[in-house]
Amino acid sequence: MSRYRKLFLLASLAILLHGCRSGYSALKPQAPDSTCIQKLKPVATTAWYHAGVDVGGKHLSGLLLIKNMPDSARRVVFTSEAGLTFFDFEFRDGDRFLVHTIIHKMDRKPVVSTLRKDFALLLGEPFRNKTISAWRSGNEVYFGTVKNKEASYFIADANCANLQRLEMGSRRKRKVTIDFDGKDTVNVVHHTFPMKIQLLRLKKNDADR
């Protein structure tokens, strides 16, 4: 094996190992603070958003409604600006999920599964009526649950003053991050394939409620 080839292999190994460490393996378990959990746990709030989705170099936009229903279900409806409904999802306690409507072009298992997980995280579904564990990493506290080898986290600063972001991933790899620019902007970023969703909350006075 040539010297350069050895160097290349060593460098690749180092990058790979560093990559593994950037997952969740460095998290240190700690006792969960129930006051902080109650304060910062994400919950669904009824609102209309203008949504932009960038996936694989394509851009799609529309209006997104998140609504808490009187029967305690949470609904997520995405329509085009001109009014056509693309999908209507329902989330219920006990990880129950129902697709009320979806247009033929989006009705693919990977599409529904990806959107379901993204919106479930945003609505705080993985944390509803679940035992939440806590871990520390630097100045941040991770609160989370694990299901089917996938962990969902909401991440607070050390003083439990603010919700920093939401994350979802496997033990080794971060897959999705949701962060918030103030109260009105939500960014959903996928790390394993090129997909971003940006939600801009529409002003209450401008939309009929």
Partner: protein, 219 residues
């Protein structure tokens, strides 16, 4: 048994009443409108009169109603049309969004993101493009994508379009156009989706046949 015969008769009467009521409803579903007698003659007149419209500029108000969720969102904007294949629809509130159709070119602008599509590259875009233009030009009644029924009131015509093609049949139950009786310009478009949701776009402050600069359809 006389008692049984009485019940059978009662059921028959009830069934007849229900049938009669539903039959009547089928023809009276648009309040204030009645079916026109000669649809073929209307088709010719509508196409001829609408073709006299060389341009339209108007405001619009769009109301999307999610029936099952009892939610409604209203958006407003500006609409421009210039004969024969240029449309600009600009949403201004509560979000900004722009669609420009200029011949075969479709431009969609969402904030700072702009998509330019050659309509010829997609059959769906071609169909949607054609329908929009057909609605404004009055040739929608000749479209193979829809079957139609036409009703009239003192002030307007009402055209009910039912999709016949698979693409639109999956999306819409009906699309209803209300056309001004004197100008033959479209007053409103109502899209009734298969899932029950309804979107109504009402065009207000219409100005017909006034010059509209080319730049409206280029940027």
């Amino acid at each position: 048994m006389p008692q049984n015969r009485f019940h059978k008769k009662l059921h028959l009467i009830a069934a007849t009443v229900v049938l009669a009521l539903t039959h009547t409803c089928g023809f009276a579903q648009y309040n204030g409108y009645s079916a026109i007698a000669d649809e073929a003659a209307f088709k010719v007149r509508f196409a001829a009169e609408a073709s006299k419209i060389s341009s339209i500029s108007s405001d619009f108000t769009q109301e999307k109603e999610l029936m099952a969720l009892t939610e409604k969102i209203t958006s407003t904007g500006k609409f421009w049309y210039r004969k024969s294949d240029k449309i600009r629809m600009e949403y201004l509130k509560p979000f900004s969004y722009l669609i420009i159709i200029n011949g075969d070119k479709l431009t969609i602008r969402d904030h700072d993101k702009e998509n330019r599509v050659n309509v010829k590259s997609s059959k769906l875009f071609q169909q949607v493009n054609r329908i929009l233009i057909d609605c404004v030009q009055g040739s929608i009644l000749n479209s193979r994508e829809f079957s139609s029924r036409v009703f009239e009131s003192q002030r307007s015509w009402l055209i009910e379009l039912t999709p016949t093609s698979k693409t639109f049949h999956e999306l819409f139950k009906t699309i209803v156009l209300v056309v001004d009786r004197s100008s033959y310009a479209v007053d409103s478009v109502t899209m009734n989706e298969v899932a029950g949701d309804v979107t109504k776009i009402v065009f207000d402050h219409k100005k017909l046949n006034e010059p509209i600069p080319e730049t409206v359809f280029t940027r």
